[in-house]
């Protein structure tokens, strides 16, 4: 085997252009598998994360939410927005049959001005009634959020003094949350006391988000948990019928509309990946078959020298293994250089929840892509080996093929 390795090395090193072309082809194959799979997995992961973070059965927002930036654009794209309704709607929703609990949330957009450290979405919640935010805040911060304290999404850079300034009021950053792959990564979370102080600050700074309404008596959305045994759809319908000027949407519907988009994007990316992969394999097989055809005389010579079929297959296998391994490592490396540093750009372009899988899955994908490319190389070498097993040594050498 050592000699076959040497022969393979000589052949590859003394035909650098052909070797480089084959390596590039193998790299293309593994790049498409790795990058395509990473994007599809990240989208699926992002959706799961989004679903779990939403944490409510029904989300109730004012009709104006459509014109002032929808909840989806806040949650998914992290576009700071705001919409408000009177807090009396909270009691009206609570009064609907089938509602187990309802908790208000308040959305305040910080400004791109000197009064604020960063322009972000600030989300306020009521610690006494909240059931959708606190469970996953607990994963990063086990104590109750005090007045003036904030927790930030993973996408926000925390200053050294751990203080962010919003509307000229300092907020202490007590924790950073895990990444979600959604707009929530660039949001800041605070309790209602803190956010009301910020609201007052915004008015002092001259920002009128509330259209004359009393900020102390306004909320942005209501998260609703439905009682066990009740139909979420019926409760949402009841809210829409009995509470005017608001829109109740099932969280499942919000997720499924994203899931629909995600499925389409995943299908396109998956289809493209499969197509590129199949194309690369076909090209790789054709290239190897053409090369083995071109090398028929060489194989005939080696057969005459005493090489067995197995030895020639070994020679082809070494060459294919080397090409596909080097190509696969190269492809995966380029894939990693594209997928990891540009993940924010990809997320932005896809406009969908995008959360990269954990290191174990990434490692598995890296190894899997390399193994797949090497397997494809082995397949091509097996096909080439079958072809050369049928050569008529005497005829080829006599004809000088």
């Amino acid at each position: 085997m050592k000699f076959e390795r040497q022969l393979a090395r000589r052949n590859l090193s003394r035909r650098p252009v052909r070797t480089a072309a084959l390596i590039l082809l193998a790299a293309f194959l593994s790049f498409s598998v790795f990058a395509g799979s990473m994007i599809v997995l990240s989208l699926q992961n992002g959706l799961e994360s989004y679903e779990s973070r939403l944490g409510a059965d029904i989300v109730v927002v004012p009709y104006e939410a459509r014109s002032h930036g929808t909840l989806e654009s806040i949650l998914l794209q992290g576009i700071p927005g705001y919409f408000y309704m009177d807090e009396t709607y909270l009691d009206k929703v609570r009064a609907i049959s089938g509602v187990e609990s309802a908790s208000p949330q308040f959305y305040l957009a910080s400004a791109s001005a000197g009064c604020c450290s960063v322009a972000v979405q600030i989300i306020g919640f009521d610690p006494d009634t909240d059931f959708s935010i606190q469970p996953w805040i607990r994963e990063s911060y086990s104590r109750d959020l005090g007045d003036g304290d904030v927790i930030v999404g993973s996408g926000i850079t925390v200053p050294k003094n751990r203080t962010l300034r919003f509307y000229n009021q300092d907020c202490r950053v007590v924790a950073s949350l895990d990444q979600t792959g959604t707009g929530l990564d660039t949001a800041v979370y605070a309790n209602m006391n803190t956010i009301q102080a910020l609201m007052a600050g915004s008015q002092t700074e001259g920002f009128d988000y509330f259209g004359g309404a009393d900020p102390q008596r306004t909320i942005s959305s209501i998260m609703v948990k439905v009682k066990d045994g009740c139909s979420i759809e019926s409760v949402a319908n009841d809210i829409n019928i009995h509470v005017r000027h608001v829109e109740a949407t099932q969280a499942k519907t919000m997720v499924s509309s994203i899931a629909g988009g995600l499925t389409n994007v995943s299908r396109i990316i998956g289809g493209l990946t499969a197509m590129i992969w199949a194309l690369a394999i076909v090209i790789l097989i054709l290239a190897f078959v053409m090369i083995s055809h071109e090398r028929t005389r060489e194989f005939a010579i080696l057969r005459v020298m005493g090489a067995s079929q197995r030895m020639l297959s070994g020679l082809l296998r070494w060459e294919a293994a080397f090409i596909s391994l080097v190509g696969a490592v190269l492809g995966v490396a380029v894939g990693a250089l594209v997928v990891f540093p540009f993940s924010s750009l990809i997320r932005g372009k896809l406009d969908l929840p995008y959360l990269m899988p954990g290191s174990g899955v990434v490692l598995g994908l890296l190894v899997g892509s390399v193994v797949l490319a090497v397997a494809a190389g082995s397949l091509t070498s097996a096909i080439s080996a079958y072809r050369i097993s049928r050569i008529d040594t005497g005829l080829i050498l006599r004809e000088g093929a």
Binding site: F3, I301, R303, M305, G306, A307, G394
Partner: protein, 235 residues
């Protein structure tokens, strides 16, 4: 015992009798030229003797062993161990140097030995071209590498197919001189050629026509010229 004996061999392709009941004996140390026009059956005979094809009928005894019914795998082993092949078109592996081409034959026979391969190249006058690729060698030099490769495993039979067919006169003379030396050392040579000048320098010329041996010519001048040298070499 003859080194090579063809016993009534025939090779039939459909209606064509490429070889028709041919019998031939080649003694150890003999130099035989097989001549004939195109389509006479030279190539078929070369392929059968070189273990690259099997006869339709008849026996081929190489060193007393009937190889006409052997499997492809055994034929590969017999060719590797007993026969050194020289081709008109040299058939060197183009990405290997002259030295590596010789060592390939060593590897498939036993163990590559660079010093021994170098000595084989020195013997054909190519020690200084050992590191050159075939594309960097002239036709005559490539043929000499091919001869060095055929000799490296000390085969009992050298089978040459039109060995001077692609060479100019100067290189043809060099190759024939190497053959003379090999013969003087006791190597058995079977040379397939259509060139009368190459045929004439052999000890015996067998003429093939339409798949049959029509004539055998014993070159008397060969005996006169080489007998003393041969005797000296064998002593």
């Amino acid at each position: 015992m003859s080194l090579l004996e063809l016993k009534s061999i025939s090779k039939i392709y459909g209606d064509l009798h490429a070889l028709d009941n041919v019998s031939l004996k080649v003694e150890k140390g003999e130099w035989v030229a097989i001549m004939g026009p195109s389509g006479s059956g030279k190539s078929t005979m070369m392929n059968i003797i070189g273990c690259m094809d099997k006869p339709t009928s008849g026996q081929v005894l190489l060193d007393g062993v009937d190889i006409s019914k052997e499997s492809d795998r055994n034929l590969t082993a017999i060719r590797r161990d007993k026969i050194g092949l020289i081709f008109q078109q040299f058939h060197l592996v183009n990405y290997l140097t002259a030295l590596e081409n010789v060592m390939v034959a060593q590897y498939y026979h036993s163990v590559p030995d660079e010093a021994e391969a170098m000595e084989a190249l020195r013997r054909v006058g190519l020690a200084d071209r050992a590191k050159h690729l075939p594309s960097q060698l002239s036709g005559g030099e490539q043929q000499r590498v091919c001869i060095a490769r055929a000799l490296i495993n000390y085969p009992e039979l050298i089978l040459a197919d039109e060995p001077t067919g692609n060479l100019d006169e100067a290189n043809e003379n060099i190759v024939l001189e190497i053959f003379r030396q090999l013969h003087a050392e006791g190597t058995t040579l079977v040379v397939v050629t259509h060139d009368p000048e190459v045929g004439e320098v052999a000890q015996r010329t067998v003429v093939l026509e339409y798949g049959k041996i029509t004539r055998e010519i014993h070159n008397e001048s060969f005996e006169a010229k080489t007998a003393p040298a041969l005797a000296e070499a064998r002593n």
